[in-house]
C-alpha cells in the first residue's frame, strides 16, 4: 500500500482534529436540547469516513453525510468550518452544509435512507448533463436496511450511474446492534447482489479509508459506474445524549475508545516521522482559533428559520 503524500496526510490530520474539536464546541454551546429526553446525536469517533471521502471530492460533486457526522462537511470542497458552525447554530448568511445544491448538498431526512433515491437522481442529472460530477451517499448500518436504499442501488446498477454508496457501520441502529439486524459481518456484501465492486475497510484507519475512497471515486469518475464501500467504525456516544444505553455490552465502549481514530492516526503519523508533538501543539492552537473565529463570525448573523418566509412560499391557500 503506497501512502498518500505527506501534504495529504497532514491535511487529513488537520481535518480530523478540526472535526473532533468543532463537534465538541458545538455540543457544549448548544447544550443537549433536552426537554423530553431527546438530546444530541453525536458522531465522535466516526469522523474518518466522511473526511477521507470529502478529501477526494470537487466543489460540485454531491455528498450525503451520515447525520451523525455532518459536521465533517467543512472538508468537502465548497464548504468551510464557518458554514458548519452557522448551519448547526441556525444562522443565515452562510452556506447550509445540509442544503446547498450547487455544492452537492441536497438535504437529508428524518426517515433515514430515504435521501438515497434523491442522490441517485443527482447522479442521473450528472449522467444526462455530462457534468463529470460524482455522487457519494453515506448512510449508517441502520439506514442500509431500509427499502429506499435498496431501490437506490437497484436503479443505480441498472443505469450504471456515477454514485458510490457507503455504509458507515457504527454497529448500532439506535439501540439495535448490527448483529441483530444482519446475518452478515461484512456489510459490503450488500453490493454483490447489485453487481457493484464492493469493499470492506477499517473506517477508523485514516490512510486505509482515504485510499479506498480515492480508488472508488476515481473509478466512478472515469465511468466505472456505482460501487459500495462498507466502512467499519463504532458509535462511541449514545444514540442520543441521555440514552441510558441498556443495550450495550459491558466494556464495549471502553474497548472501542482504545481504537478511536484521532489518537490512532496521530500515533501513525508520529511513527512515520511526519508529525511531531510540536506540530500537534501548533495545530491544536490553530484549530482552536479557527473555531473561535467561526463562532465569532456567526454571532452577528440573523437566525435562519423564518416561518413568515415559509408561509409565503407554500401554496397560498391554507
Amino acid at each position: 500500500m503506497e501512502l498518500p503524500s505527506k501534504v495529504i496526510l497532514l491535511k487529513l490530520y488537520r481535518d480530523l482534529l478540526t472535526a473532533r474539536r468543532v463537534e465538541a464546541e458545538l455540543y457544549s454551546r448548544q447544550g443537549n436540547l433536552a426537554g423530553s429526553g431527546g438530546g444530541a446525536h453525536r458522531g465522535v469517533g466516526e469522523e474518518v469516513i466522511p473526511i477521507a471521502i470529502c478529501n477526494n471530492l470537487t466543489e460540485t460533486d454531491c455528498i450525503h453525510p451520515n447525520f451523525r457526522t455532518f459536521f465533517c462537511m467543512f472538508a468537502k470542497p465548497g464548504f468551510s468550518v464557518v458554514d458548519v458552525v452557522a448551519t448547526s447554530m441556525g444562522r443565515a448568511g452562510k452556506k447550509n452544509v445540509w442544503f446547498t445544491p450547487e455544492n452537492g448538498a441536497l438535504g437529508s431526512s428524518g426517515t433515514v435512507g430515504e435521501p438515497s433515491v434523491r442522490y441517485v437522481g443527482a447522479a442521473v442529472a450528472a449522467a444526462i448533463k455530462k457534468t463529470g460530477d460524482i455522487v457519494v451517499f453515506i448512510q449508517g448500518d441502520g439506514a442500509a436496511n431500509r427499502a429506499p436504499t435498496h431501490e437506490a442501488m437497484a436503479v443505480a446498477a441498472a443505469w450504471h450511474l456515477p454514485i458510490i454508496f457507503v455504509i458507515q457501520n457504527n454497529r448500532y441502529g439506535m439501540g439495535t446492534s448490527v448483529e441483530k439486524s444482519y446475518n452478515i459481518n461484512d456489510l459490503s456484501l450488500r453490493g454483490a447482489g447489485y453487481g457493484f465492486p464492493h469493499e470492506r475497510v477499517d473506517g477508523n484507519d485514516m490512510t486505509a479509508m482515504y485510499l479506498v475512497a480515492k480508488k472508488h471515486i476515481e473509478r466512478t469518475r472515469n465511468g466505472g459506474g456505482p460501487s459500495l464501500i462498507a466502512a467499519d467504525t463504532y458509535r462511541l456516544r449514545p444514540h442520543y445524549e441521555g440514552d441510558p444505553q441498556i443495550y450495550r455490552p459491558k466494556g464495549e465502549i471502553e474497548e472501542w475508545w482504545r481504537k478511536e481514530p484521532l489518537a490512532r492516526y496521530q500515533k501513525q503519523l508520529m511513527d512515520l516521522g511526519i508529525l511531531t508533538e510540536k506540530d500537534v501543539e501548533r495545530m491544536e492552537a490553530e484549530v482552536k482559533a479557527e473555531i473561535q473565529d467561526a463562532f465569532n463570525e456567526i454571532e452577528k448573523l440573523p437566525r435562519a428559520v423564518n416561518y413568515a418566509n415559509f408561509e409565503k412560499t407554500a401554496i397560498a391557500e391554507l
Partner: protein
C-alpha cells in the same frame, strides 16, 4: 383544429414540452418498453433518445425520490407512476419531501411533475384508488385532475412549466370512455376532441363550467365530469337544469367559480370518485363556507356530497362503491324536487 384522443393529447403535451426544454426528462415503469402501458409515451424514445426517457425497475420510491435530486441539479423531471395507487409506495418522498421539507428548503422551487393514472373502480384498490385527498394535505403540492383531451394537454404543459411540484392524476376511464347523448360511451369519438393547432396552456386554479345550468351546481373533476355531463343531459329532458363545474385543479382550488355558480343555482352537490371520509368534498364545502358564509344559509337545499363509500375498491363491487350517473341522478332529483 385537429381531433385527438385523450392519450394523444397527453402524448403531444409531453413531446412539445420536451422539444421546448431539453431539461425535461421522463422516467417510470415501462415508458419505453410498453409506451407507458396506455400509450402516453409512444414515440418519445425514438425522438428524444435514452437520456430523456428511461424505464425504471419496479422501484416506486426511486421514481419519486430521484425527481427531487435531479430537479435540485438542474433537470425538470416527470416521474411517471403506471398507477396512481402505486405512488403510495413512495409516500415519504412525495408527501414528506416534495410536499413538505423540499419546499421549505428551496423556498418552494422544485420543478417536478409526478404523473399517475387512476385505473378507476373497475380495477382493484391498489390500481384503482384515487389518492388526491392524501396529497391535498401537503403544503407544497399542486394537484391536477383533468377530464378531457383539451384540458389534459393544456394542463400537463402548464404542470411541466411550473416551478413547484405538481401531482398530475389522469383517470384511465378518460382514456377509453366519455359521454355521448346522456350515456357513458366507450368509443373513439367519446374520448376525442378538437384541439387547437397552435400551442395553448391552461392556468391552474381556474375551474371550467362544462355545462351551464340554473337549478343546481354539480362540482366534480376527473372522470366524474363525464358522469355529471351524462346526468345533466338526461335531466334536462325532465326540466332540471344542471350546471357542471369541472375543477381541473384540486390545489389550487377555484372557490370563486363554485361560489359564483351556487349563488346562481342555490344548490350545491359535490361529486368525487375517491372515498367520502376525509375526501376533497369536505374541504370544498369548508372553503365555500369560509369564502361566502352567508351563501350556505340561503341555499334552496342543503349541500350534499356523493363519493365512494368508505370501502376499498373491489372490481366486482366497483359500480356500487363509486358514484355513477344513476346515483348522481337520484341525488340531484332529491335536491331539486321539481
Amino acid at each position: 383544429m385537429a381531433v385527438v384522443t385523450y392519450i394523444e393529447a397527453v402524448n403531444q403535451a409531453l413531446k412539445e414540452e420536451m422539444r421546448r426544454d431539453e431539461r425535461v426528462v421522463l422516467w417510470g415503469e415501462d415508458l419505453i418498453s410498453m409506451n407507458g402501458v396506455f400509450g402516453q409515451t409512444r414515440g418519445i424514445f425514438d425522438e428524444f433518445g435514452g437520456d430523456r426517457i428511461k424505464d425504471t425497475p419496479i422501484c416506486e420510491q426511486a421514481i419519486a425520490g430521484m425527481t427531487m435530486g435531479a430537479a435540485l441539479r438542474g433537470l425538470r423531471p416527470v416521474g411517471v407512476f403506471m398507477n396512481a395507487g402505486f405512488s403510495l409506495c413512495a409516500f415519504d418522498g412525495l408527501f414528506l419531501k416534495l410536499g413538505c421539507s423540499g419546499g421549505m428548503a428551496t423556498g418552494g422551487t422544485m420543478p417536478v411533475v409526478i404523473y399517475g393514472v387512476i385505473s378507476g373502480p373497475s380495477d382493484d384498490n391498489d390500481h384503482g384508488m384515487s389518492p388526491e385527498a392524501l396529497y391535498m394535505h401537503a403544503p407544497y403540492l399542486k394537484i391536477v385532475m383533468s377530464s378531457t383531451p383539451y384540458d389534459a394537454k393544456g394542463l400537463l404543459k402548464t404542470a411541466i412549466r411550473d416551478d413547484k411540484p405538481v401531482i398530475f392524476l389522469d383517470h384511465a376511464w378518460c382514456f377509453f370512455m366519455g359521454h355521448k347523448d346522456g350515456q357513458i360511451a366507450r368509443t373513439r369519438e367519446a374520448v376525442s376532441q378538437e384541439i387547437p393547432d397552435q400551442e395553448y396552456l391552461i392556468p391552474f386554479g381556474k375551474a371550467d363550467v362544462k355545462r351551464k345550468g340554473a337549478d343546481i351546481t354539480l362540482v366534480c373533476y376527473s372522470f366524474m365530469v363525464h358522469m355529471a355531463l351524462a346526468t345533466a343531459y338526461n335531466l334536462a329532458k325532465e326540466g332540471i337544469s344542471v350546471e357542471v363545474v369541472d375543477l381541473r385543479t384540486i390545489v389550487p382550488l377555484d372557490v370563486e367559480a363554485i361560489v359564483t355558480s351556487v349563488k346562481k343555482t342555490g344548490r350545491l352537490l359535490i361529486v368525487h370518485e375517491a372515498m367520502k371520509r376525509g375526501g376533497v368534498a369536505g374541504e370544498i364545502l369548508w372553503r365555500v363556507h369560509e369564502e361566502a358564509p352567508d351563501l350556505l344559509k340561503s341555499l334552496k337545499s342543503p349541500v350534499r356530497r356523493l363519493a365512494a363509500k368508505n370501502l376499498p375498491m373491489v372490481p366486482a363491487y366497483g359500480s356500487i362503491v363509486a358514484p355513477t350517473a344513476d346515483t348522481i341522478t337520484v341525488a340531484v332529483k332529491e335536491m331539486v324536487k321539481k
